[in-house]
């Protein structure tokens, strides 16, 4: 069996290694290729996240359509003021994250660290408020399960579905925040150590995408969970 490799298809050139960049992995040709690969990979990952949340959103839409009365009265149990403030906090953290990426791309280490810490703090406030809300629901027996009660709810039997979705969706969202929290701690450590330069700050940039995505999920959760038909009720 002679090995007759066809040569028509290709011609060879000498693989040129880019100038030694400590952050360039061996299997990439150059830094651009590596950076773009990371970016596409992150976007594709966010696509999976979108579909992951999509299943819960679908369940929400189906049951909201089926049991409007239960959803209205159960949703009215949430505190809009707290929800709106928390949304504001999360949007602020998105801004600080965007600025962190901005200063990373300019190579300004101290501002990068500052805005990463700001993002961390704002995320912490959001989670704290969320914890307070959960506690409040716990006190009022609004946790789905055996002891579930929905005082003064119309169609109270189906109100539990609303709260199942409420906890499912905000819980999944919060778990994403907690994971983000962990990654942020690592990034702050690395940024402070001076790992990132204006030429290479891919982890910061990729984490920024993740953080904004989590923000977007909340942007939808806020009106869907807190703002169903508040007509005739004071906003604050």
């Amino acid at each position: 069996m002679s090995s007759h490799a066809a040569s028509s298809h290709t011609s060879a050139v000498v693989g040129h290694e880019a100038a030694h960049d400590p952050n360039l992995k061996h299997h990439f040709e150059n830094a651009d290729q590596q950076k773009e690969s990371a970016s596409i990979g992150m976007w594709v990952f966010l696509l999976t996240e979108l579909m992951f949340f999509g299943g819960l959103f679908l369940a929400y839409f189906v049951y909201r359509q089926w049991y409007p009365a239960a959803f209205i009265s159960a949703s009215n149990k949430t505190d809009v003021l707290i929800g709106a403030i928390n949304t504001t906090v999360l949007i602020c953290s998105s801004l600080t994250m965007a600025l962190a990426v901005h200063y990373a791309s300019l190579g300004k280490k101290q501002l990068l660290v500052f805005f990463l810490i700001a993002t961390l703090l704002l995320g912490g406030i959001f989670l704290g408020v969320k914890g307070y809300e959960y506690h409040d629901k716990w006190v009022h027996h609004e946790i789905p399960g055996e002891h579930f009660e929905c005082e003064g709810c119309q169609d109270a039997g189906h109100a539990q579905l609303f709260f199942s979705l409420y906890f499912g969706m905000t819980g999944l969202h919060a778990s994403h925040m907690i994971i983000g929290f962990g990654i942020l701690l690592v990034l702050i450590f690395q940024a402070n150590r001076g790992d990132f330069t204006a030429k290479w700050y891919t982890p910061v940039e990729m984490f920024g995408l993740y953080w904004h995505f989590v923000d977007i999920v909340w942007i939808f959760l806020f009106p869907l969970l807190y703002l169903i038909d508040r007509v005739g009720r004071p906003l604050l």
Binding site: F57, A84, S94, L95, L227
Partner: protein, 103 residues
Amino acid sequence: MQEHSEHHIVPKRVYALVFTTLIIMTWVTAWISTVDLGPMNIWVALSIAVFKASIVVLFFMHVKYGTRLTKMIVCSGILWLMFLLFVTMGDMWTRGWMGVPGR
């Protein structure tokens, strides 16, 4: 074959504008839920949410300055989410159209 993403530095003014819009829209959507628009309430709320999400994607996540591929990935994500939501809702919306014999 490579589609180089020009590294675009977004001016801070843009961030400020987007941020302000997001905050305003948050409170607008909260306020508008107290106004009786009938069945339009949810659509208004969702439109505002879509608008807010779009400016986050376009400016905070730099898709406006990104490659065509990034834009394509974002669009396909939205399209597939619509597949999931609308095709299933199509079932839910039409389920009652055909009566059940004997009922």
